[in-house]
């Protein structure tokens, strides 16, 4: 177990190193950050000054090593635009995205797992058809359309929910639904097919052959197995949500990581973009690690060798 965690952490570190290089390259190899930072209406001299101030005229590897050296001291750099330490900026935006992601995932799981279970329990019935239909339709609906639709209906037309901002928990309802809805079909399908498999497996037949009550069989002896791949998928989905909430956060003006990323891309705030790519990669790697550990807790075959 300890060996496993060590190995996984080593892998995570490797992933983060490679991602940091990719992130750095992505950001530095295209366009002129100085031009964007100087803004419209800046003269050539203004831009040159910016280039000098931020050291963009040095060789790339030197800039990269500098960045990494600072990262190792816990210094993410400084946002030229927001005039704050990137660490502080992230600390401000991260919780919002984390909340949004957690709520979205929660919504997705609450909707998809029971649906998947019921669909597997009663295949080819109304509920199965309904959930399949939901899955197919769900995948077909672009999240931005869904988000705009939600906003129009609940925000403008019915006026039940606040439209933008982060003032109260109600602000998170629509974004969480819009974001979580997209993950629902995949989780639902996986739960369903997992449950179908488990329900036909020998040990479930054993459990039934020994007179255990149906719910015990379903929850304790079936769902626990079916949920194992779902845990991994949920971790991946949560990772996607962290990086993929750009559209949703922009629409609902939720100032999370995705929103920050998009804004920063537009104003070439490269320190932030780099940091976000890195943070998301780290979060993703850690999430999958957590999923693995969770799976190990669920399945002793992984845990005890």
């Amino acid at each position: 177990m300890a060996a496993f965690i060590t190995k996984r952490l080593a892998l995570t570190v490797l992933v983060i190193i490679v991602t940091s290089i990719v992130a750095f390259m992505l950001v530095h190899l295209s366009g002129d950050p100085a031009a964007a930072m100087a803004g419209e209406g800046a003269t050539d001299a203004d831009i040159a000054a910016v280039r000098e101030t931020y050291g963009f005229n040095r060789p790339l590897y030197a800039q990269y090593l500098d960045w990494v050296a600072k990262l190792l001291q816990g210094d993410f750099g400084r946002s030229y635009y927001l005039r704050m330490d990137v660490g502080d900026v992230l600390a401000e935006h991260m919780p919002i995205t984390a909340t949004l992601g957690a709520l979205a995932l929660g919504f997705a799981l609450l909707l998809s797992v029971p649906l998947g279970v019921f669909a597997a329990l009663w295949p080819n019935t109304m509920i199965d058809r309904f959930s399949l239909w939901l899955a197919v339709a769900g995948q077909a609906l672009p999240s931005f359309l869904f988000a705009l639709g939600l906003m129009y209906l609940f925000g403008v037309y019915l006026r039940w929910l606040p439209i933008s901002g982060t003032g109260s928990w109600q602000n998170y309802i629509m974004p969480a639904i819009a974001l979580g809805y997209y993950a629902t079909p995949a989780i639902m399908r996986l739960t369903r097919s997992g449950m179908m498999d488990v329900l036909q497996s020998d040990h479930v037949r054993t459990a039934r052959a020994y007179g255990l009550s149906p719910w015990r069989v379903i929850i304790k002896h079936s769902l626990r197995h079916a949920i194992i791949p779902v845990v991994s998928l949920a971790a991946v989905q949560l990772g996607f949500m962290l990086g993929g909430s750009i559209v949703i956060e922009t629409i609902f003006s939720l100032k999370g990581i995705g929103y920050l990323a998009w804004e920063s891309i537009q104003r070439a705030d490269i320190e932030i973009i780099q940091a976000i790519l890195l943070v998301i990669a780290t979060a993703y790697a850690l999430l999958t690690l957590v999923a693995d550990l969770l799976n190990a807790a669920l399945d002793p075959r992984i845990r005890v060798s």
Binding site: G31, L141, P142, Y152, L242, G244, I246, L277, I280, Y284
Partner: protein, 294 residues
């Protein structure tokens, strides 16, 4: 003595196809896709308008079914007075084209990597798995945005970026499918009768993973189309005078409150296409799972 003489033998593929034909979803999905593809091909015959032809005197005409609509512009016109029906039709070409082209790129990359990892195992598997992990840690939308925003956008770049980003699912699925197939005894048999590696990969393994491959392809083509739409929505997708549905939604976004049909029309086209692709993919998933596990 055996009694199966009269039944013409069907290959598993044909059997699956037969089962698919009995599937309502396959018909619905297939029909929608067919109509859309035909519309894309015959767009110039279906509308007299050039999708880029503007007429600033004819802006924001609503579709025929609303009070102020006219038959001249069945689906109305947009902010530059361009015929909306023509734009939807020609938009089909770009949306489908992007889907197919990116599929080609991502499919080639993903299938090659997946097969290599699944068949050889060992260190190629480790390396490819690492590549997949790296790819997964980089959020698609974010990377696409960075690249497109910074390098500038053209259709080629868009296709390349999306294609180079969406190979992960191919690789993952093909890898595990290949692993499964490779552990079968017929692969050992093939090696024992002296088959070359390419022969094993292409004659023995590839035909046996077509089921999952088609499913992933359907998911990824839908994904690519949606991603293009999302990028267009953020203003970084297709460039005029080309039209895509995502771009149309993006351009009509400001009319959400007042002229909702402008979003609804391309939006509905988009949803319908993705829906149909998903339906077909679903059918394939159904009919290729062993015993047609419903």
């Amino acid at each position: 003595m055996a009694n199966s003489t009269n039944i013409a033998p069907l290959s598993p593929g044909q059997l699956a196809f037969r089962r698919a034909l009995r599937h309502g979803g396959f018909w619905t999905g297939g029909l929608i896709i067919l109509v859309i593809v035909l519309a894309a091909i015959f767009a110039p015959l279906l509308t007299p308008y050039d999708p880029a032809l503007q007429d600033l005197t004819q802006r924001y005409i609503p579709p025929v079914w609303s009070e102020k609509g006219t038959w001249d512009h069945i689906l109305g016109t947009d902010n530059l007075g361009r015929d909306y029906f023509a734009r939807v039709l020609y938009g089909t070409r770009i949306s489908l084209g992007i889907g197919l082209l990116t599929l080609l790129i991502s499919g080639t990359i993903g299938v090659s990597l997946g097969i290599a990892a699944g068949y050889w195992g060992g260190w190629p598997d480790l390396v490819i798995n690492f590549l997949i992990t790296i790819r997964l840690t980089l959020p698609v939308v974010l990377v696409a945005l960075v690249v497109v925003a910074l390098i500038g956008n053209s259709l080629t770049l868009l296709v390349l970026v999306i294609g180079l980003l969406l190979w992960d699912r191919f690789a993952i699925v093909v890898r595990s499918a290949t692993q499964q197939v490779a552990s079968r005894e017929y692969i050992t048999s093939a090696r024992a009768i002296g088959s070359s590696t390419p022969r094993i990969l292409f004659r023995e393994i590839l035909p046996n993973i077509t089921g999952p491959l088609i499913v992933v392809a359907s998911i990824e083509i839908a994904h690519a189309i949606l991603l293009e739409a999302a990028l267009s929505f953020l203003g970084l997708g297709v460039q005029p005078p080309q039209v895509s549905w995502g771009l149309m939604v993006a351009e009509a976004k400001s009319q959400l409150m007042f002229r909702p049909w402008m979003i609804a029309i391309p939006g509905a086209a988009l949803v319908l296409l993705i829906f149909a692709i998903n339906l077909v993919g679903d059918t394939v998933r159904d009919v290729t799972t062993p015993e047609g596990k419903a």
